[in-house]
């Protein structure tokens, strides 16, 4: 009996026993489909977080005021008042710092903003014109704050699309309109393009005003909440971090780096932190995927083993009619391979389809994880083949009449 005949015989057995074939394929489809969908979804969300952090600006260093060590007491990170506009200007003009492109001094604080009967609590950012460049802010209408606004302490504001919705209503044109915070009125001069962020530090839910206006008119502060610096390239990030660090230590008349009253964080640090968080998330999803793989595997195993009685009789009969051991084993092996290949392909398509639908409804980037596909196909394939082949292997060694009597 040649291989071609054998494969024809396999297909004929599989099509004759539609229910059994269907159930076996279903088990494989579910096992493989769910693993691919879950892992792809995990990777998609990880990628989305990375994209969002990238969109905050590239080659970015953020200098935050650090709690100054005052004897044994150290103040909170970011809560200090040790950074000033002078620091920022000195960094920008310093001849010793050669690796930076742009410096953006920033002061931000949350405040209540009122427009007519609407009000919202949002982040107000006092900014220099360089802010837009460093943080990749683009405008959908109007203009950003310019140097003249900063010098004149103009009461103007550029607002995010979420603020437009909260204060002016969806689709309204707020340019030229006035809004109020505390006892100051601000004139809207621009609206930023949506970046699609969400949650804490949502760039769509911000109001940008000139730095001087924020410091002196709105909040009465003389310090900065952060200084953002864009390095010339990705490669000089570490150099820039060091140059700025030593420069600021000198500027603040500190000799020991351990006493630094500021901290410098790079985009990469943030990215790494966020990645490790989303990595945990992916690990969790992979755990769930592993369980579904196990469940799928047990499903495949069950359907293969449940049919053993019937199949053992079939093997007995085939042997009684002249089938050799090898022929019987090969037939069952091929059947198992055909099942797992068909189930694997359907499962793969289904898994990709599910992750596509889910990622598009959840606004995640669509990714396919080749390792997930390989893992799912491998495990289900092995389970399917082993449990299709092993009982057949055993039954083929019985005397035909024993196999025919098997219960």
């Amino acid at each position: 009996m040649d291989i071609k005949e054998l494969i024809i015989e396999c297909f004929s057995t599989l099509t004759v026993n539609k229910m059994r074939t269907g159930l076996a394929i279903l088990g494989i489809v579910i096992g493989i489909g769910s693993v691919i969908a879950l892992i792809s979804l995990g990777e998609a969300s990880q990628k989305m977080v990375e994209n969002q952090i990238q969109s905050l600006g590239s080659n970015l260093l953020t200098i935050s005021p650090g709690g100054q060590a005052n004897g044994a007491v150290r103040g909170a990170q970011g809560g200090g008042t040790t950074l000033t506009l002078e620091d920022a200007l000195a960094i920008e003009s310093s001849p010793t710092i050669t690796t930076i492109k742009t410096v953006s001094p920033e002061f931000s604080k949350r405040a209540q903003v009122i427009m007519g009967r609407n009000n919202t609590n949002t982040q107000i950012v006092g900014a220099y014109p360089t802010y837009a460049e460093i943080h990749k802010i683009t405008l959908s209408s109007g203009v950003f704050i310019n140097m003249r606004d900063v010098q004149m302490m103009s009461k103007v504001a550029v607002i995010g699309p979420q603020v437009v919705i909260d204060l002016f209503g969806e689709g309204a044109n707020p340019i030229g309109k006035m809004m109020r915070t505390g006892n100051q009125s601000l004139k809207v001069i621009g609206v930023t393009t949506s970046k699609g962020g969400s949650g804490f530090n949502n760039q769509d839910d911000m109001i940008y005003v000139p730095l001087s206006t924020a410091q002196k008119q709105l909040f009465g502060a003389s310090y900065l909440s952060s200084i953002s610096v864009e390095a010339k390239s990705q490669d000089v990030m570490t150099d820039a971090q060091n140059q700025i660090g030593y420069f600021l230590l000198a500027q603040h008349k500190l000799s020991d780096p351990a006493q630094a009253d500021f901290s410098i964080m790079s985009q990469n640090d943030i990215l790494n932190t966020a990645s490790s968080i989303t990595g945990t998330f992916t690990t969790l999803l992979s755990g769930i995927a592993a369980i579904s793989l196990l469940v799928g595997g047990i499903g495949i195993m069950n359907i293969m083993l449940v049919t053993v009685t019937e199949r053992t009789r079939e093997i007995g009969l085939r042997k009684a009619l002249g089938a050799k051991q090898k022929t019987v084993i090969l037939q069952f092996l091929f059947e198992a391979i055909i099942l797992t290949v068909i189930g694997g392909i359907i499962g793969m398509i289904l898994g990709i389809l599910i992750s596509f639908i889910l990622s598009s409804t959840m606004g995640l980037p669509f990714t396919i994880s080749p390792s997930a596909i390989a893992l799912a196909m491998g495990v289900s394939g092995i389970i399917g083949v082993v449990f299709g082949w092993y009982p057949a292997q055993k039954a083929s060694k019985l005397q035909p009449i024993e196999a025919l009597r098997y219960e």
Partner: protein, 238 residues
């Protein structure tokens, strides 16, 4: 052609030993038509399975065409079952949910007969057993008698030298049973060796020799004088 020498078959379960055949010896010559009769549990089916190379004896020797069957490998046995022996099971043992045609073609698949020839032969034999219009019915769509006839067609399709039939008429009406017996006699006249199990005397009467078995032992072996079989068994020759 068939020599059974001192064959015993003992089934062992954990606690109980059941002796199905105890020191059975006989010989069947080429072209004989023998009936094995006996009450249920007498060991006649066990004997048939051993004759059909479907099971091995616990002790004793089975010589088929000069070859000791117990010394053959599993695959050599498969070949003998495929080419030399046609076996008609009491329980039919058709492949479930599979058409009559495919069931009859199965032994030829294992013999490596080309597909066209398989199809022709299978159709011919199904026609012979009167199932021309049932060829594409699956085994569960057929009645007991029809399944029996598919099993007979499958047993004959390889044109085996020896035909073993376990209660071949057990599930069919007497008119059809008569037809099957006429078919067997015709095959016997063409030179096939036939051994069948039956518990009906008028069926057994078609055979030229009747072997009676009880409690695993042969209790009677006689020439059937009523037989209309052409080739009579000559006891003096043993």
């Amino acid at each position: 052609m068939i020599q059974i020498k001192d064959v015993s078959k003992i089934y062992k379960t954990e606690m109980i030993e059941t002796v199905a055949l105890s020191h059975v010896s006989f010989e069947i010559k080429k072209g004989e038509f023998a009936a094995i009769m006996g009450p249920s549990g007498s060991g006649k089916s066990t004997l048939m399975h051993i004759l059909g190379a479907l099971d091995l004896a616990t002790s004793g020797e089975y010589i088929l065409d000069g070859e000791s069957v117990s010394k053959l490998t599993d695959d050599e046995l498969a070949d003998i079952r495929n080419r030399k022996i046609g076996f008609i099971f009491q329980a039919f043992n058709l492949l479930p949910r599979t058409t009559a045609l495919k069931n009859v073609m199965l032994p030829m698949v294992y013999a490596g007969i080309p597909k066209k020839e398989r199809l022709e032969k299978a159709k011919k034999y199904l026609e012979m057993v009167g199932l021309k219009d049932r060829m594409y019915h699956t085994s569960n769509q057929l009645s007991g008698g029809q399944q029996q006839r598919v099993a007979i067609a499958r047993g004959l399709v390889m044109n085996p030298a020896i035909l073993l039939a376990d209660e071949p008429t057990g599930n069919i009406a007497s008119a059809q049973a008569e037809e099957v017996m006429l078919l067997f006699q015709k095959l016997n006249n063409e030179g096939h060796t036939i051994i069948m199990i039956t518990h009906e005397l008028d069926i057994a009467n078609h055979a030229g020799r009747i072997i009676s078995i009880r409690d695993g032992e042969i209790v009677g072996d006689k020439v059937n004088i009523n037989s209309n079989s052409k080739l009579k068994f000559n006891k003096t020759k043993i």
